[in-house]
Symmetry: C2
Subunit: 226 residues, 2 copies
Amino acid sequence: MERVSLERKVLSENDRIAAELRARFQEHGVLCLNFISSPGSGKTSLLERTLACLPKGERVAVLTGDIQTENDANRLKQYGFPVKQITTGGTCHLDARMIERHLADWRLDRLDLLLIENVGNLVCPSSYDLGEEAKIVVLSVTEGEDKPLKYPSIFFKSQLMILNKVDLLPYVLFDVAAAEENARKVHPGMEIVKVSCLKGNGLDEWLTWLEKKRQAQREKQPAAVR
Amino acid sequence: MERVSLERKVLSENDRIAAELRARFQEHGVLCLNFISSPGSGKTSLLERTLACLPKGERVAVLTGDIQTENDANRLKQYGFPVKQITTGGTCHLDARMIERHLADWRLDRLDLLLIENVGNLVCPSSYDLGEEAKIVVLSVTEGEDKPLKYPSIFFKSQLMILNKVDLLPYVLFDVAAAEENARKVHPGMEIVKVSCLKGNGLDEWLTWLEKKRQAQREKQPAAVR
């Protein structure tokens, strides 16, 4: 009982900071996206593919979370955009305080798009608002089509499901229609894009989704600042 | 600070119950194994393959954890052994109290092997002792060879790493030698077995490992009870 109320307190402190972050992102017209998946579903590969497609001058930055190692930041830095690793040292998720701290020396008025790669974990990150405009859940076809039913919270809270590694479909037992049906059982109207980061399938559709969101975010920005 | 000390208290209460469970398992010569992995790495498939290979009369039972659904218990029940689903309802790991509660109406003196499938999560379950003799981490070749470095705790604490889905090696970028090296960087002397639950590769080696552990557990049992 004591533990539950303390967790609530921790979460509501997180929500307070997340709300401040969200207000700052909106003020500066920054689209912030929070990518969540199991370990190894391909979040970093998706971000690599995305950064590789963006013109060099784009005002894009990445925060990438892991329990240990700087591997992902090192992979992502080669695309020429600012990237910071958030090493949680054991914590199973990113929280709003970590985002706030790692943004402290970046100027939001010089940014249009902030991509946050969460710790690989399909459970805990779903409870922590980071001030993002949308959560995006990445599911790999190697993980089984029942995952939306087993881990409903993150599928319920995500605006988009990216079904990744579709190039492996001939070699695994995975029913794409059932996966989509399960995702929409948990989250009716869920948007779904099927991609292969390895082979390139579906990336156009993902980039179109992203551009539409960026346009919508620009339109939200107060007229005086635009 | 308050939160940290409360988490310590919760963990030490867990450790107390886990120690009691461990003593009971040893008294009755029950080998208890705790399977941990990311969602969709193939824990349930591995247990299905294992149960299918055991003679019907074997004194084996399974506890399988998930946040939602009875899917895994339904898959595992068809092999004729007692199976119970532990549905955590949101909690990201199994704890010793859940194991104790779900064992309450099973007689340990009629059991030799208890297989526990944890919630799919490579982070949180590693902090909760369930009274098991050994943790076994399952890593799929689709997840990338860097996972032991990124999620060191579970690889450090596991006696055995099962590298699953090796049938997919021709279709993914995965360096087996690097994965083994990374696992042994975190956990020198880590035992590793490579399997494909889909095609059957390596299952003999896994069953030999299991039989060796069962024999060792039998030898630990007090002579009077044997």
